[in-house]
Subunit: 240 residues, 2 copies
DNA sequence: CAGTGGTCTAGACCACGGA
DNA sequence: CCGTGGTCTAGACCACTGA
């Protein structure tokens, strides 16, 4: 299937909401009406609405209708609820991204990393260390460990443009889910040397384990953000 | 309905996963099998599995089965993907929580707050300022603004136990969704005075807008976390 | 009371993975 | 090839909202 029907509905409604055709607190047409308009069953419409709800665009109100709760974000933000590569986030926020590769080496997972990440000790991985500059400011230091069984080789060019598009477009890896932790840590010597910390002695650290469509955890990464460039945003649902 | 059928399935599978009956990378029984076991349709099983996937417990692998990707978190964490009150998070992590009310006053939304929060300027609200101690350590300073139309009065007792249970159990407010932003800021004088910052000059700030079941944004809150007690965890899905 | 979303069923066909 | 999950349909009944 080129594209699922519910996904087309998501895209139509999302762009209408983002363009302001439905304002904050407006109500969408009823599920029954949307089903008729899109020529599909109510269940398919409901699946689309659930996706929009999970991303913070709408909220269903029983007995009344689905309400738009989307509000334009004023400043640049990274996604908490979804998976987005840094180049994708930079493009969305219209920020210039430049990446400098600091090191790239084959190695194996040692004990401390194994405990932090969940990767099995001894597994062969590629370790990539990079500095990311947003609009010219050095704001993110990240390290990724990628399974060599999934990513046998990397070049400086791939590393400095986008590992994710190489994974998805060239290797055919489908990134499905990620498990993330956000903490705040004291800045290390390297942080102070490389990042624009503005006299703040700490960094925001985002650690992430990433899974592909076969359920394999193929990457563990650790991004150290200078506070100035760190703003994560997401929506959450009260789940049973 | 006391409890939806899919929700029962979620609870059974979740506790089985948490208890280790299914280990990391194990496969759950097929959807067809689960439907037979629980005496329901496959769609209902799928809804339960989708909920578990959104919380990072399982991941479906087409043609193969649903795989468990849950890994026990070693340290105490707060939820990023869900909505959880601090008392709930403290109980889940077996941490002792004590709350000190610093101030409680009726006021109205001013212009700067309105721009930050999305609440309309001039709206009557209750402003609550609190210090939270985890295992005796002062780690979180939070301020909430609650619509007086939803929460007309609050007492010190409610504020120092749980505003959320008062909202949900007494007032019948159903919390449905929240929109959140996480940033790292320089510590203010008050942060330094009240929080256990361990010489770190910054705090993690979680700002949150909360919506009830009628789609009304009834609360805006701002929690300033000492780095030592700050660890947020969540799972994310790569969405179309 | 009519219309809305919430839940659930019992089917169907498809794409994919592994034996 | 068969069994898996992915999508979709056309119904049904319920709980809730608002006029």
């Amino acid at each position: 299937m080129a594209q699922a029907k519910y996904d087309q509905i998501v895209q139509v409604l999302r762009s209408q909401i983002e363009e302001g055709r439905y304002a904050f607190r407006d109500r969408l047409p009823s599920e029954h009406t949307l089903a008729a308009e899109f020529g599909c069953s109510r269940n398919t419409v409901r699946k689309a609405l659930a996706l929009l709800a999970s991303r913070g665009y709408v909220q269903a109100v029983q007995g009344s209708g689905s309400q738009v709760i989307y509000q334009r974000r004023p400043t640049s933000t990274f996604l908490l609820g979804g998976i987005e590569s840094l180049p994708e986030a930079a493009a969305r926020n219209e920020v210039d991204l430049r990446t400098v590769m600091l090191s790239l080496e084959p190695t194996t997972v040692d004990q401390p990393l194994s405990e932090r990440s969940g990767l099995k000790a001894g597994t062969p991985v590629l370790r990539v260390h990079r500095l990311r500059l947003l609009d010219g400011r050095p704001l993110i230091l990240d390290t990724s460990w990628l399974l060599t069984s999934v990513v046998p080789v990397l070049t400086r060019e791939v590393v400095e443009t986008s590992i994710y598009s190489y994974l998805e477009d060239v290797l055919g890896v489908r990134v499905v889910s990620a498990s993330r932790t956000v903490t705040v840590e004291r800045a290390t010597q390297e942080d102070r040397a490389r990042l624009d910390l503005e006299d703040m002695g700490c960094v925001a650290v985002v650690s992430s384990a990433t899974f592909d469509s076969s359920g394999l955890m193929f990457e563990y990464s650790c991004s150290r953000h200078a506070p100035a460039g760190f703003e994560f945003h997401g929506s959450a649902l009260r789940l049973p």
